[in-house]
């Protein structure tokens, strides 16, 4: 349902993405991996409308999305958990979550959604009155994911959700993401925990220097010798 066709993104004169194409099918969980500075974040931001793409097309259920403002794209049910969490630091945890359901379309029923998020992350319920800026790293990641869930996305894009989490918390996050996917949510997962990522996704893309270097079933990528050498440290 999400199709990215041959898009290019430039920062000034530097091309961060070159003719990148990608697809996420309904209900699918796809992986996007790549080294530092490969352009993963840039790609997610281009889909979300935060950075303008030149050339190519982005379409969502057949509808062309390119050139739309981020708030418009959010309205389509495409929600990103941004790199570095990007919480609203001077707002409480609960306000952060409520902000997730800002769009009028999802505002109704946000009460249930909130309860659901607290159920998934009881730690957030404990800290609901604390300012998000003073949360620990892991707590912030939970809040960011919780906020995204409040928007009840149809496509959830996660940018390195396990960054800075304890192994246990990271595993939990992966488990939750996996479960969300099993409940029918489409997911595009960017992560440096390549092994785990490829384990829970169906298909994967490898981005190198702003271009797609490889794509295919995750299981196949995991066995690929080049992936093994460059990304798995084996």
């Amino acid at each position: 349902m999400l199709r990215v066709d041959n898009i290019t993104v430039c920062y000034g004169r530097m091309e961060a993405l070159r003719n990148v194409s990608l697809e996420v099918a309904p209900g699918e969980m796809a992986a996007l991996i790549g080294g530092n500075g490969a352009g993963k974040t840039t790609l997610l931001n281009a889909i979300s409308g935060l950075v303008p793409a030149t050339g190519g097309a982005i379409s969502w259920e057949g509808k062309a999305l390119k050139g739309f403002a981020p708030d418009r794209i959010c309205r389509e049910g495409i929600v990103q958990v941004p790199e570095g969490r990007k919480l609203f630091p001077a707002m409480t945890v609960e306000e952060n979550l409520v902000m997730g359901a800002y769009l009028p379309t999802v505002r109704k029923g946000s009460r249930e959604a909130l309860a659901h998020v607290y159920e998934i992350f009881p730690r957030l319920a404990d800290r609901r009155r604390q300012l998000a800026g003073s949360l620990s790293g892991g707590e912030q990641q939970m809040a960011a994911l919780g906020r995204a869930l409040m928007a009840r996305p149809r496509l959830l894009m996660l940018d390195e959700p396990s960054l800075g989490l304890s192994p246990k918390a990271a595993a939990e996050i992966f488990a939750i993401v996996r479960q969300l996917n099993q409940e029918g949510m489409s997911v595009l997962l960017v992560s440096q925990e390549v092994l785990e990522t490829l384990a829970i996704t169906v298909r994967g893309y490898v981005l190198e220097n702003g271009a797609v270097a490889m794509e295919g079933p995750s299981a196949a990528l995991r066995e690929d010798p080049q992936v093994k050498a460059s990304y798995l440290g084996l």
Binding site: S48, G49, L50, A69, P70, D71, C74, R75, V79, Q80, P82, K86, L87, F88, P89, A90, M91, E95, N96, V98, M99, G100, Y102, L103, R107, R147, A151
Partner: protein, 291 residues
């Protein structure tokens, strides 16, 4: 010291303090949530006062009515100002500084446009009740003070409600803390900023009118008002609405008490001195403990 004097000084001090708070609340809002120090805020307040003055002297319309009527007018005007002037500088590296310089220029322009329209002569807002008072025992509640006080409570409550209880208000706060993320969750940055700015400016109108009920005003009066804006906002904490109201209360109390207990010559000095000491010990306003 005589109790009646003390209480009477406090009564008027506090009521006037609240009027300053009303004038300041929008200033605090643009500063706190948008990082725009809106130097021409008081000039817009003064514009509201002049409009109300003209409506009163020409059509006999009560300033309280004008305060309500000027709000949408200033709102629209402020939307235009935002679109044309403020928006371009929100991309500056240091928005606070750039916005200050820009709106300083705007304040000069507004001041002199007002001087051209209304002339430099001082004006006084004198509705029928201008120098009346409600008398309770030995105490006088001067009508202009009461009106200003009431407008202040209403205006500040409205802003508070907007920020804390409406989705738009929450989006405003979110957007200025983390614009990228806010956009990702459906916030239209441009619209939100414009609304915030315009709302702030429209409260300035009510503040200016209330202040004009208390003192005479001239095209340059906004310069003086601006100083009070800074004081109130800083004592209350930038962007803190409840703090702003309390700051009005506190500054009013200090002025009132020093009026009652000190030679008048020392009142202003003590007020500013106190504020300085206050800031040294509570550098982030009333509530915030520090970043």
């Amino acid at each position: 010291m005589d109790a009646v004097l003390v209480i009477q000084s406090l009564i008027s001090g506090i009521m006037i303090g609240m009027v300053y708070a009303l004038l300041s609340v929008g200033f605090s809002l643009t500063w706190g949530v948008m990082h725009v120090i809106h130097i021409s805020h008081a000039a817009f307040g003064l514009l509201g006062a002049y409009l109300a003055y003209s409506l009163l002297t020409i059509y006999g319309i009560d300033p309280v009515v004008s305060a309500a009527a000027s709000a949408p007018l200033l709102f629209i005007l402020a939307c235009g100002v935002y679109r044309l002037l403020i928006k371009p500088v929100t991309k500056a590296k240091e928005v606070i500084v750039a916005s200050m310089i820009l709106t300083f220029g705007l304040a000069i322009i507004l001041e002199n446009i007002m001087a051209l329209i209304w002339k430099a002569d001082p004006r006084i807002m004198t509705p029928a009740y201008a120098s009346g008072a409600l008398i309770l025992g030995p105490f006088y509640f001067q009508h202009p003070h009461l009106v200003g006080f009431a407008l202040s409570i209403a205006g500040i409550a409205a802003v508070y409600f907007f920020l804390k209880k409406t989705y738009t208000g929450m989006a405003v706060r979110a957007a200025w803390q983390q614009p990228e993320a806010a956009q990702l969750y459906g916030v239209n940055l441009y619209r939100i900023s414009m609304i915030t700015f315009a709302l702030a400016v429209s409260t300035a109108g009510a503040g200016g009118i209330s202040l004009a009920l208390l003192n005479s005003f001239e095209p340059h009066s906004h310069n003086l008002w601006l100083i009070y804006l800074f004081l109130v906002v800083i004592v209350g904490g930038v962007g803190d609405i409840v703090g702003t109201a309390l700051a009005g209360l506190i500054i009013g109390t200090i002025t009132g008490l020093s009026m009652a207990f000190l030679p008048f010559q020392w009142v202003n000095l003590v007020t500013f001195g106190f504020l300085m000491v206050f800031l040294i010990f509570r550098p982030h306003g009333l509530f915030k403990q520090g970043a």
